[in-house]
Symmetry: C2
Subunit: 346 residues, 2 copies
């Protein structure tokens, strides 16, 4: 009764790296690709088709924040370490995130009305519920990207560029970022497939191996011009010092950076992408779950850190519920797990 | 740089049937299997490995409701057509759903405290937000399965079986349902892989083709004993007459049953499953998205209905936003689509 799919689809299938169990059986399967590389582009660990182009989404906010720091904008506008961490964030919209974003804009004589990311309910469930209970509506400050957008405005002000339509690819800030992405990833990107991100900015497709390369460059920026070397270090230090601002209460990114004491910088992105920077090893990693599911991306990011021996016993104990995740039923009983696939090649 | 997965994983990969675009590129891909069969078990349409076992989850609530109707419990307790529709529901927890479930239990001298499904926030976003704004907490009546559980209690009362732990596989109600699943699917299921569903009841693994067969039997129950034939018809009529109660405002199941004027009965389940009953054609269908994603299951269910010529021009106009779904950014602009894959084999 079986009707196999077309040969081409089967031939290019990425391996199943994460599986979801329920009772006696694997219920769902997640295919993915991942690449760990050094700054010379040597692939240290991989699975799946790492030359396939992906939209790196919010997993490259650290790369986008380079424009803010290396242009001198952050210094000119006295950006704090907290603000730089928030520029790299997909935050929960918790009170502290909103406060840091608001104060930053305020200092520049701007406000939430200048952000072009739009308003959405806080990504953090508790924050979202608290807002509803208080009868309030979310503003653009609650948008998980509000720090990134505050960074764009800061850069635009510093460059003397228009403050409107800073999300368009033609805008000087986005052009700078495109140039940074090209240098860091080692790819020509002017003709790459392009789309619009959730917050309105351009998304540029990059082969997964080259996304990883960009983060290896970030970890070990010896081949980059000087203002960028210092900028990479400053951004890593900011994320390491303020993991809460990069995500929020209970979030994977925050908890992993806390448990690893900032030795690794991890960043999630929509549609199942993740980036990892390991400054002490001079390596970077990127992964993309084919179907775009966050639960699989998190478990896989954890596996990469395990493989790189970056999770010590204390961190493993702290992160056990993230490295293998529980599937719970409504009354809270564990009925299954999201785990690295038993026959995963990595 | 590519490292292909193990041969076995690639060989058994289901085809990509749904893809998610963003701008110029396909960003995410969903693999799936689907089977459309008649009551004799003849496969009329299929893709992927339809002999793989799946947990049919809430997509088989109609089959579970057979116990309520064919046992005589529904008649003995004067169940309305609305209550039978609600027994088949994964509802939104909107006021009307809660009201029907509450009144049903009340009539039997029972209450939300007798439901073993647990309480969760209403599945419907508007209902969930209204509850929060009102400062109220959800009860078990808001659980999307409350109607199904009310049906179990009704059946237990009628059978003189215990009202406690009716969710356990050993309970007479669950044993009846197991027998119904075996007869309808044509499978021995006593030793099948088993797990616990979100609402606490047993989930039994069934090959996808046999899930479809169970729904073909439902559509054309000529091989089933008589009380069941009438029960199948009564359940189909109830779902067709009350599509709102089966899901809720804006939901795929509700809108499809409304737009097709009850000619097809569709039912979603967690982890990317869907069932379809077409009484007028005497056929049934089932599908499972490998990665468990609802967006893909819905688009694929729509494709099956299109292939079966069950979507006329009026229905197509009404359902266009569900047959191909928009990916929108925060400010509401369409930036991509969830659509049937361009090279889908079906």
């Amino acid at each position: 009764m079986s009707a196999p799919g077309p040969q081409t689809a089967a031939a290019s299938a990425n391996p199943v790296l994460v599986e979801v169990t329920r009772g006696d059986m694997v219920e769902s399967r997640h295919r993915a690709a991942l690449a760990v590389v050094d700054a010379a582009g040597k692939v240290l660990l991989s699975a799946g088709d790492i030359e396939r182009q992906v939209y790196p989404r919010s997993a490259i906010k650290q790369l986008q924040a380079l424009a803010l720091v290396e242009s001198g904008a952050a210094e000119a506008f006295d950006c704090s370490e907290e603000e730089i961490a928030l520029a790299c964030a997909s935050h929960n919209g918790e009170p502290r995130h909103v406060e840091v974003a608001g104060a930053w804009l305020d200092r520049m004589g701007l406000s939430a009305a200048d952000l072009e990311c739009g308003a959405h309910k806080p990504m953090g469930v508790a924050a979202s519920e608290a807002l509803l209970r208080a009868g309030e509506s979310p503003t653009a400050l609650h948008n998980n990207c509000s720090g990134k957008h505050a960074g764009y405005l800061t850069t635009a002000l510093h460059l003397g560029a228009p403050l409107q339509v800073y999300i368009r690819i033609e805008h000087p800030v986005q052009q700078r970022i495109l140039g940074i992405l090209e240098m860091m990833s080692g790819c020509e990107l002017r003709d790459a497939p392009r789309g619009i991100d959730g917050c309105g900015i351009p998304q540029i497709a990059i082969p997964l191996s080259h996304v990883a390369l960009a983060f290896a460059q970030f970890a070990n920026p010896v081949d980059q011009p000087e203002p960028r070397q210092a900028a990479c270090e400053r951004i890593c230090a900011a994320m390491a010092a303020h993991p809460f601002l990069v995500a929020g209460s209970g979030r994977f990114c925050t908890r992993v950076m806390e448990a690893t004491k900032g030795r690794v910088l991890v960043k999630t992105g929509a549609e199942g992408v993740f980036s990892i920077i390991v400054p002490e090893m001079g390596i970077g990693a990127a992964l993309k779950v084919d179907d775009g599911t966050t639960r699989a991306a998190e478990v896989l990011a954890g596996r990469v850190l395990e493989k790189l021996n970056l999770i010590d016993d204390a961190a493993r104990a702290e992160l056990s519920d993230l490295l293998t995740q529980s599937v719970k039923n409504v009354v809270g009983k564990e009925v299954g797990q999201v785990r690295v696939a038993q026959d995963s090649p990595v």
